[in-house]
C-alpha cells in the first residue's frame, strides 16, 4: 500500500434537500488522506453537518460523486468485523435503555461477532476514553462530557478507517471541552485514524487539526479556503497561530485570503 491514499473524497458534490434547484452545497471537492485530521470549519447552519452526512453515506449527493476507500459503496462490512466509517454526534446520542457498555457494543452489532468479542472490544474502547469503570451505568446518570466520551468510544470500537465527528464538543462547558480535546488528540496520535471534525470554533480547529478546511458563503455554500498546520504551530500564544486564525476568519467571512503565512510555508499555499 502506498504511503498515502485517499480514504474519502468528494468530487464536485452538490446537494439540495428537495432534489430541486435550491442547493445548500455546490461544487464541493475535498479529499481526505490516510492519517489526516481535517477540521471542517464554518459558521452555524452553513451545511457542515450535511457535508459530514454525505461522507457518512446517510445522505446522497444531488450531483457529483463520493469516493475513497472508506466510502465506496461495496463497503461490505459483515464478516470483516469492523465498519469503514463511524460517526460521533453532537448530542452524544446514546440509547437511554442501554447501559454504557451496551451503548458502545451497539457499534459492533450486526458484524458477526460473538458476545465475548463484542464485550472485549467495547471494554477496550471504554478504556481508551477512561470510562471502563462506568460500563454498567445508565447514560442518564452521566454528565454531558461523560456521555460524549461514550459516543466517542462507540465510534472507535468499530475500528473505522474514517472517523466523522459532528461538533462533538460543541455542547460542553469550556473545561470539559478542552480536556476532551486533549484526549481526542492523544487517541488520534495513538491510533492514527483519518478524522473529519466539524466545528465552528476557529481555535478548536487550529488546536486539533493538521488541516483546516473552510466551508462558507451561500447558499449554496462552498469551500472558500484551507490551511495546513504543523504540530509546533499549535501554540495559541504564537504569532503564527494568530495569523492563521485571522486568515480563517477572513475565509469564513468570504473575503479574499489576506495571506500572511510564514515565508517558509507560503510556497505551499
Amino acid at each position: 500500500m502506498s504511503a498515502k491514499h485517499s480514504v474519502a473524497s468528494l468530487d464536485n458534490v452538490g446537494l439540495s434537500h428537495d432534489g430541486g434547484a435550491n442547493f445548500v452545497l455546490r461544487n464541493v471537492s475535498l479529499t481526505l488522506e490516510q492519517g489526516e485530521f481535517v477540521a471542517l470549519l464554518g459558521p452555524s447552519g452553513v451545511g457542515k453537518s450535511t457535508l459530514l452526512r454525505v461522507f457518512m453515506g446517510l445522505m446522497q449527493p444531488t450531483e457529483g460523486t463520493v469516493g475513497g476507500s472508506a466510502c465506496t459503496t461495496d463497503a461490505e462490512e459483515t464478516g470483516t468485523k469492523r465498519r469503514r466509517r463511524a460517526l460521533v454526534f453532537q448530542d452524544a446520542r446514546l440509547m437511554p435503555w442501554r447501559s454504557v457498555l451496551k451503548n458502545v457494543e451497539f457499534g459492533l452489532e450486526g458484524l458477526g461477532l460473538t458476545r465475548e468479542e463484542k464485550r472485549t472490544r467495547a471494554m477496550d474502547a471504554l478504556k481508551l476514553v477512561g470510562l471502563e469503570e462506568a460500563a454498567d451505568r445508565w447514560p442518564r446518570r452521566m454528565s454531558g462530557g461523560q456521555r460524549q466520551r461514550v459516543g466517542v468510544a462507540r465510534a472507535f470500537t468499530v475500528n473505522p478507517d474514517l472517523l466523522l465527528m459532528d461538533e462533538p464538543f460543541g455542547a460542553l462547558d469550556p473545561i470539559t471541552r478542552s480536556s476532551l480535546q486533549e484526549e481526542l488528540q492523544r487517541i488520534w496520535q495513538q491510533t492514527h485514524k483519518t478524522v473529519l471534525f466539524v466545528t465552528h470554533d476557529i481555535e478548536e480547529a487550529l488546536r486539533l487539526a493538521t488541516r483546516v478546511v473552510v466551508l462558507a458563503g451561500g447558499p449554496p455554500a462552498g469551500i472558500t479556503g484551507e490551511i495546513a498546520i504543523t504540530m509546533d504551530e499549535r501554540n495559541p500564544e504564537s504569532t503564527v497561530f494568530r495569523t492563521y486564525a485571522a486568515r480563517l476568519r477572513a475565509m469564513i467571512a468570504g473575503e479574499k485570503d489576506p495571506g500572511g503565512a510564514p515565508y517558509w510555508r507560503s510556497a505551499e499555499i
Partner: protein, 254 residues
C-alpha cells in the same frame, strides 16, 4: 398543592376507607335505610361465596373466564400492538388504514356480540373474540402513538451503525424506545380485558359473566356481588403480576 403522605399511611387510609364503606353499607341495610331485597348485606357475601365454592361453581367460573381472558388478551394485544407499530413505522400502511380505523374504532365491544355468536358460536372462541377486540384498540392506539413519538434522531443513529433497514429500526430502535408506551397500553388492556369478560359471557358462554347473569335472573344479588368482587380481585392480581414484567422491561427508566 397536595400534601405528602407516607406509604404506610396511604395503605392505612385505604383500609379505613374500605372499612367505612362496607360498615356503612351493612348499617344502612340493618337500619332499613336500604331495602335488603335490592342490595345484599356485606355480611351475607361470605356465606354466598362459601356456597359457590362448595358447589365448585366459583372455581369453574374463574377457570373458564381466565381461559377466555388470557386467550383474548394475548390475541388482542399482539395484533393491536403489532398493527399499531406497523402503522407508526410505515406511512403508507398508516394512510391505508386511517379510514378503516376511524370507522371501526367507535364500535363498542358489546356490539360485536351478535357477530361473535354468528361467526364463532356460543363457545370459547366467541368470548375470546369479544375480549380480543376491546383489547386490540387500546394496544393499537398506545403502540401507534408510542412509535410516532420515537426520537427520529435515533433512526439516524441506527442507520449510521448499519441498522437502517426496517428490521434494524424495529428491533434496535422502535421496540425499546417505544417500550414505555407499549407497556402502558398492555397494562390498560389488562384492565379492559376483565371488563369485557362480562360482556363476552353475557350471552351464555360459561364463566364469571354467565354466572352473574344466572344469579341476577334469580335475584341472588349476593352472588352477583361475590362475582363482582372476584373480578376486582382477579384484575388486582393480574395488574400486580404485570407490574413485575413492566419493572423489568423499563428498568432503565428513572
Amino acid at each position: 398543592m397536595r400534601d405528602k403522605v407516607s406509604f404506610s399511611t396511604k395503605w392505612a387510609l385505604g383500609l379505613i376507607g374500605l372499612i367505612v364503606f362496607f360498615g356503612g353499607w351493612e348499617a344502612a341495610i340493618r337500619t332499613g335505610l336500604l331495602p335488603s331485597g335490592m342490595v345484599p348485606a356485606p355480611s351475607s357475601l361470605g356465606p354466598a361465596w362459601l356456597d359457590e365454592v362448595r358447589g365448585g361453581f366459583w372455581q369453574q367460573a374463574i377457570l373458564d373466564s381466565l381461559h377466555h381472558y388470557l386467550l383474548g388478551l394475548l390475541i388482542g394485544s399482539v395484533l393491536g400492538a403489532g398493527l399499531g407499530i406497523l402503522c407508526g413505522m410505515v406511512a403508507v400502511v398508516d394512510g391505508l388504514l386511517e379510514g378503516i380505523v376511524r370507522l371501526l374504532r367507535p364500535v363498542p365491544g358489546l356490539a360485536w356480540v351478535p357477530f361473535a355468536i354468528l361467526w364463532f358460536g356460543l363457545n370459547t372462541s366467541g368470548a375470546t373474540f369479544v375480549i380480543a377486540i376491546s383489547v386490540f384498540w387500546i394496544n393499537f392506539y398506545a403502540a401507534h402513538s408510542a412509535v410516532r413519538g420515537v426520537d427520529p434522531e435515533l433512526y439516524e443513529l441506527a442507520a449510521a451503525f448499519g441498522h437502517g433497514g426496517f428490521f434494524g429500526r424495529l428491533f434496535k430502535v422502535v421496540l425499546p424506545a417505544a417500550s414505555p408506551g407499549l407497556m402502558s397500553g398492555l397494562r390498560t388492556g389488562l384492565g379492559q380485558g376483565w371488563m369485557s369478560v362480562v360482556a363476552a359471557e353475557l350471552f351464555g358462554v360459561p364463566g364469571i359473566g354467565a354466572r352473574m347473569m344466572q344469579a341476577s335472573s334469580l335475584l341472588a344479588t349476593d352472588v352477583v356481588v361475590v362475582y363482582m368482587l372476584t373480578m376486582a380481585l382477579l384484575y388486582a392480581v393480574t395488574d400486580f403480576l404485570f407490574g413485575f414484567v413492566r419493572k423489568r422491561v423499563l428498568r432503565w427508566q428513572p
